[in-house]
Symmetry: C2
DNA sequence: GTCTATATGGGGATAGAC
DNA sequence: GTCTATCCCCATATAGAC
């Protein structure tokens, strides 16, 4: 495999002079990359890594196949780049908890944020689920390092709350799993939920309702009063 | 496509006489079908419909590829047959609820049964999750009919309990989703859970612990006392 | 019943014209 | 930077030998 010096390189913010015109290098590149990553998210989320085809991604993006392979030299790199994108996006939205917080309020926030994520980024959620189900070949390292650390940190905070008698004594790690699973379900199992409820598509209030329900049950289950 | 008169036909329990020996027709067939379906479960669960290959299924089953295609005339039929198998298996294990039951006991049973399913049939759970995430192309009809009816029936029972003041007023359908999502999570996201908890593999007690945790929180969340 | 050989199509990836 | 043509491999599926 020959190394493509242009593909897979991040963008720079500089401008250069070429011929007579001043232009931002990579303007088109930037837009095409975005279109491709968006299309890849759809395709990979629906068919998994092996089931996805570059041809389909190209069609979804409205670009010729070779163009896609020009921007991302191969399928694996495209898949990785997509996850970098998603993880970065998640880190931005992300809200943390600390021992000083009110447990009820913090937990309620956590649930609402996660439900909102399911609403706004259902594809990302499904993609992630798909990757985990497949054995996390690409994300194994992330799970073992960043995610493990994240869970440990949050679990410690919850344990502090319990030790201080501010909530019922439940396993903190299991509690995190419970919030994850119950909230992601609305994105990952969307089709099932819609079919069972006989709906054509989700509305905003469905998510609000789900968030309320989960907050009610989980907080109460942890011996907490719902915050006003 | 020519119709294969042997492939995809169910077995019969009769015996016939051929030449001198009396033998059960399809003994080998039966065993091979099972081996193939087992292998298909692994392969499809890991890679989805499009990502799975017949070659891989054959290797997992320890049979030549053509042999696999002899028993299941094509990929789609093999995929369908596998789901028929799984749904039948689930229906067998399945325990129902009725308005006369004690809510706490019934809900606790439901949770424990589902966790046990995740433990015993993780592949089936992942397969199902994968199919739903992909938009349920094969199971859409099942979701729209059997599953919808099932949920409605159970939701009615739960609503009766609520109307009779035997548990807190929570949305019955959401409650079913909550039990589904939180219990299946242990099968579907196994890799993530193991990585986060820094474990090499699950043990029986992990599932017992999970079931206890979920029963604690969800029952309490529904204003119920845990049954002894 | 079982396996080999093969037809046919599509997939990823590259070379090179424009 | 962009797109066409093409290579090579692997997939499904079938025909037919054993």
């Amino acid at each position: 495999m020959t190394y493509n010096p242009v593909a897979d390189t991040p963008l720079e913010g500089t401008t250069i002079k070429a011929g007579n015109r001043r232009y931002r290098p990579g303007r088109i590149r930037e837009r095409n990359r975005e279109k491709i990553l968006q299309a890849a998210e759809e395709e990979f989320a629906q068919h998994g890594f092996r089931g996805a085809t570059i041809q389909n991604i190209a069609e979804r993006a409205g670009l010729p196949k070779s163009n896609v392979l020009y921007y991302f030299s191969n399928k694996k790199r495209m898949y990785s780049a997509m996850f970098d994108d998603i993880l970065a996006r998640w880190n931005k939205v992300f809200s943390d908890i600390s021992p000083e917080d009110d447990p009820a309020e913090a937990l309620s926030n956590f649930i609402h944020t996660k439900v909102e994520m399911s609403r706004r980024y259902p594809l990302a959620s499904r993609l992630f689920a798909m990757e985990i189900i497949q054995g996390a070949p690409f994300l194994l390292d992330h799970l073992r390092t960043s995610m493990r650390e994240w869970v440990r940190g949050r679990a410690e905070v919850i344990q502090r709350w319990i030790d201080d008698g501010r909530m019922a004594a439940v396993d903190p790690v299991q509690l995190i799993f419970l919030v994850w699973s119950s909230t992601q379900h609305y994105a990952d199992f969307q089709v099932q939920i819609l079919m069972v409820e006989n709906k054509a598509e989700y509305e905003k209030r469905d998510f609000d309702h789900a968030a309320e329900f989960l907050t009610d049950v989980i907080l109460k289950g942890c011996g907490l009063e719902k915050p006003t």
